[in-house]
């Protein structure tokens, strides 16, 4: 449990650290890339806007050269002058044919006109587009245009110069297709041989038609914006926002796209911006704008602002894709970190696990399992310490066991002879009696008391007495079987237990053998010592059923033997052992 705990905690820690650093790196990478994606989208859009702007300017140049071409037709000055002089119908027809031919190949031209410099700007030749038809307007329907900016500004120009009007809705009645439509007038003077301005050629350009065609090359999601030099929208994705000034309402591009204000002020040539989504109806967008110089060179104040926008959703899609990729990389990294964390945790906890196992084994059965302490690190030191500890513990245990054995020996044996003492002997007697009772067998108990031991002690001293007792102990043990027990329970009192006898005779044989053995002289330190023994024998179950009574009978029999002169044996006599109790 604890093992798992450390490994798990360590793995978690490592994993947490791994994820944290990966999260940080991922977030930074995502944020940076997001900015990059946004910037590249804006760059792309700006490039597209610049390309569109160049196309627009190229188209202006084409319209300008068309106007110049018409103004140089020989019939143009002739028609302008003819009104005052002679018949002009042939020249007029030639001009109409030229105007119509041009309008056939230029679908964005609403109207091509020749307007007189005199007669309050009276139209001299006028071809209008009306659906699929080209209409040559009758003389009776011609109008005076001198009060229009495209007329008085063009009349102020010299030959070969071109005027581009401001873009406005054409409210000139009778303009056919061009009526109330966003219109750009491109005009150039028609001059006489002497250079005097006689008239002007005006081409009305369909602004929306032109941009429809230019936009065809762009991705569908791109939206076009165009404003005049005040910032009034001329083209807006929502047509209601364009030409607000025409209805007395000013709607400025710089209000919706703040950076465009610099373009309007003339302090910048291009601007990119992104508008965050405000509502669901106006989702965010990325937009780019360029300031396009517009019109004749002498008039440097004039320009239009052209812009393209792209829904933010498209850019966001790229960013989301990027985010997903980042997440994938992070997930893969996360799995790697997980594996690494588990591996590392195992590497650290494996030796700990082995140590724990060793310690557990040691605790259970003191088996010493030496740990690998070859390592030079902290784990190696720990293993060496544990090894040392195990060894110390084992040697201590061995010492402890030895002392315990010694103490046990002391407690149960006679210190002089090494024979079982009274306590141990009694213990064995109880066991033997229990065994005999279970086996329905018999056992014999003998009390052996040395005759004349006291005088030996007195005469030769205690040392000799003690030596004598040792000899007696040895001789007694020689007289019995291995299974039998000899004990010393007093100064010269010994006891013998024969746990397995078949009859009283077995005991008598042993008792007589003891008497005989002890009657032989003993040589101790040059002294010839003569002793003898009185032996009392009692049998279980013959004489008694319990230990106390058995001891009493054996002791009594021994006493009778001593009384009878010693050096002999007596068997306890009892008629009925039960009554004796």
């Amino acid at each position: 449990m604890m093992r798992f705990g450390i490994a798990a905690k360590l793995a978690l820690l490592l994993l947490g650290f791994g994820f944290l650093s990966m999260g940080l790196v991922g977030t930074v990478a995502y944020t940076n890339s997001r900015t990059t994606v946004l910037e590249s989208a804006q760059r792309e859009l700006l490039t597209a806007t610049q390309v569109l702007g160049r196309q627009f300017q190229t188209n202006m140049e084409i319209v300008s050269s068309d106007a110049l071409m018409l103004s140089r037709l020989p019939s143009a000055p002739r028609v302008a002058q003819a009104r005052l002089t002679q018949d002009h119908s042939a020249d007029e027809a030639a001009l109409v044919a030229a105007f119509e031919a041009l309008m056939v190949v230029r679908p964005a031209y609403f109207q091509v006109r020749l307007i007189s410099a005199a007669q309050h700007g009276l139209e001299l030749v006028r071809v209008d587009r009306d659906g699929a038809n080209l209409i040559t307007v009758a003389a009776a329907d011609m109008q005076e245009k001198s009060h229009n900016a495209y007329v008085f500004n063009t009349l102020a120009l010299g030959a070969g110069q071109v005027y581009l009007s401001d873009i406005s809705l054409n409210h000139e009645q009778g303009a056919h297709d061009g009526l109330d439509k966003p219109t750009l007038r491109v005009a150039t003077p028609v001059t006489a041989a002497d250079g005097s301005v006689l008239a002007l050629v005006v081409i009305n350009l369909d602004l929306n038609g032109l941009f429809e065609r230019l936009k065809a090359d762009l991705p569908n999601a791109y939206q076009v914006y165009l404003s005049n030099h005040w910032g009034d929208y001329l083209i807006h994705p929502n047509p209601a926002e364009a030409f607000g000034f025409d209805a007395g309402r000013r709607i400025f591009i710089q209000d919706a796209f703040k950076p465009v204000a610099d373009l309007i002020k003339g302090t910048g040539g291009s601007a990119v911006t992104s508008v965050p989504p405000i509502t669901q109806r106006s989702p965010g967008l990325v937009a780019a704008f360029v300031r396009l110089p517009y019109g004749a060179q002498r008039d440097e104040q004039r320009f239009v602002v052209l812009g393209l926008s792209q829904p933010m959703a498209q850019v966001v899609k790229q960013i989301e894709h990027l985010g997903w990729r980042t997440l994938q990389v992070m997930l893969a990294g996360g799995v790697g970190a997980l594996l690494l964390a588990v591996l590392l945790a195992r590497l650290v906890t494996q030796p700990l696990k082995r140590m724990t196992e060793a310690m557990q084994g040691f605790a259970e059965d003191q088996t010493v399992s030496l740990l690998n302490d070859n390592r030079q690190d902290e784990i190696g030191v720990l293993a060496a310490s544990l090894n040392a500890m195990q060894n110390t513990l084992v040697s201590n245990l061995q010492e402890l066991n030895a002392s315990r054995d010694a103490i046990e020996q002391l407690a149960q044996h006679d210190p002089l002879t090494g024979l079982p003492n009274r306590a141990l002997f009694q213990d064995r007697l109880v066991q033997a009696m229990t065994q005999a009772e279970r086996d329905h067998g018999a056992l014999a108990l003998m009390f052996v008391d040395l005759d004349g031991f006291k005088p030996v002690n007195d005469l030769y001293g205690h040392q000799v007495g003690d030596e004598l007792l040792n000899v007696v102990a040895q001789r007694l043990q020689d007289c019995v079987r291995r299974m039998d027990t000899v004990g010393r329970i007093g100064g010269d009192e010994f006891v013998v237990l024969l746990p397995l006898v078949s009859s009283v005779n077995d005991a008598v044989v042993v008792a007589e053998k003891i008497c005989q053995s002890l009657h032989e002289a003993v040589n101790i330190e040059g002294h010839h010592v003569m002793i003898s023994a009185s032996v009392g024998v009692a049998l279980y179950p013959d004489h008694a059923h319990d230990m106390k009574t058995l001891i009493h009978f054996a002791d009594t029999a021994m006493y009778l033997a001593k009384k009878a002169g010693g050096s002999q044996m007596k068997v306890a006599v009892v008629a009925n052992p039960d009554r004796a109790v």
Binding site: H120, G121, L122, E123, A140, D141, M142, Q143, E144, K145, S146, H147, N148, A149, F152, H171, E172, Q173, G174, W230, F245
Partner: protein
């Protein structure tokens, strides 16, 4: 649950207490009612004032005509609009006894009978508050003496040097004035002459402008000598700021002028408080603050731009707006005199 009950009770108490103090609902243009004036009025009359601002005559019309004028107590509108409100019974006659400050107004404002748009059948429906006239702006270098007649716009001497304004109603009024007529009610029999007059104007002008900044640009680029100032003093200021040496004149035929007045809505809940408001707004203090803060002329002091003797034609609904507009579109498109016959 409990909290929402407390909230409800609180809201109800607020509503009740709000009703305990009388609330005046004011409908006005930006710049006409400043917050400190409202605070002063609220203090003076222990009332609450709710101001709603509008930016165009169309929105003003929508607001006042909804619920038959029951959504507001007082409204500020020009004479054309007030006249229209009277026609639609959206405003109520005023009790002049409750408007003592009218007596302090200049004579041309004091007598409502002089201002055709604001009285009907002997009853007065509005009190003038502020005004602006559409004079002539001229280049002082080109004009030795200030132009004194509107006819100067037709003077061939200034051909291609005149800037007129692209507005059907005003141009018909001007043409009518130039012909010695009344501006707002052109009888059908006079109309062809007025149209010819406008064609003549078209042939004499450089162009017809729409935006104030457009007029400034044109004035500078084309050495314009004379300009019809549809935007009045504002435009005069803009031209001077553009570095042009210009003067401002009111022609002897008179100048068209708009005049904004205070009127009481037909469905006003607080007519007494509404009278108090109007009297307060034309007081000397507020009138002079209006001039100081907004540069708008007030009805108590003579204007710096016009003499009291100058004729000002307070705008009125014209005889047929739609007809004027249709004709104007043709004139502006360049139709020749013979095309109108």
């Amino acid at each position: 649950m409990k909290r929402s009950v407390i909230l409800l009770v609180f809201t109800l108490l607020c509503a009740v207490s709000a009703h305990a103090v009388e609330t005046l609902r004011v409908l006005a243009w930006p710049g006409y009612v400043d917050a400190d004036w409202v605070a002063k009025f609220e203090q003076l009359f222990a009332a609450r004032v709710e101001v709603t601002l509008v930016g165009s005559d169309e929105v003003l019309w929508q607001k006042i005509s909804a619920n038959q004028g029951a959504d507001f107590d007082v409204v500020a509108a020009n004479t054309v609009e007030v006249s229209r409100y009277i026609d639609h019974k959206l405003v109520q006659p005023l009790n002049l006894a409750r408007l003592p400050n009218v007596q302090q107004q200049l004579p041309r404002f004091k007598n409502a009978q002089n201002i055709s748009g604001i009285h009907r059948l002997g009853e007065v429906f509005a009190v003038p508050y502020t005004y602006a006239e559409m004079g002539l702006i001229y280049d002082r270098k080109q004009f030795a003496t200030p132009p004194d007649s509107i006819r100067v716009m037709w003077d061939p001497a200034w051909r291609g040097k005149v800037l007129a304004f692209d507005d059907s109603s005003h141009n018909f009024s001007l043409a009518s004035l130039a012909l010695g007529g009344e501006p707002f009610h052109i009888a059908p029999v006079r109309m062809p002459a007025v149209v010819q007059q406008l064609i003549a104007l078209r042939r004499n002008v450089l162009t017809f402008y729409s935006l104030p900044e457009e007029s400034v640009a044109l004035f500078k680029q084309h050495q314009v000598a004379l300009l019809f100032a549809n935007y009045g003093q504002q435009q005069f200021k803009a031209l001077r700021e553009a570095g042009l040496d210009v003067g401002y004149a009111i022609p002897r035929e008179g100048a068209l002028a708009w005049l904004d007045c205070w009127a009481i809505a037909a469905g006003a809940r607080q007519p007494a408080l509404a009278h108090a408001w109007i009297n307060f707004m034309i007081s000397a203090d507020i009138s002079r603050e209006l001039t100081r803060r907004q540069g708008l002329d007030n009805t108590l002091d003579a204007s710096a731009n016009s003499l009291e003797s100058d004729k000002l034609w307070w705008l009125e609904p014209v005889e047929d707006d739609t007809r004027r507009s249709a004709l104007w579109t043709r004139i502006l498109s360049g139709d020749r005199p013979e095309q109108f016959k």
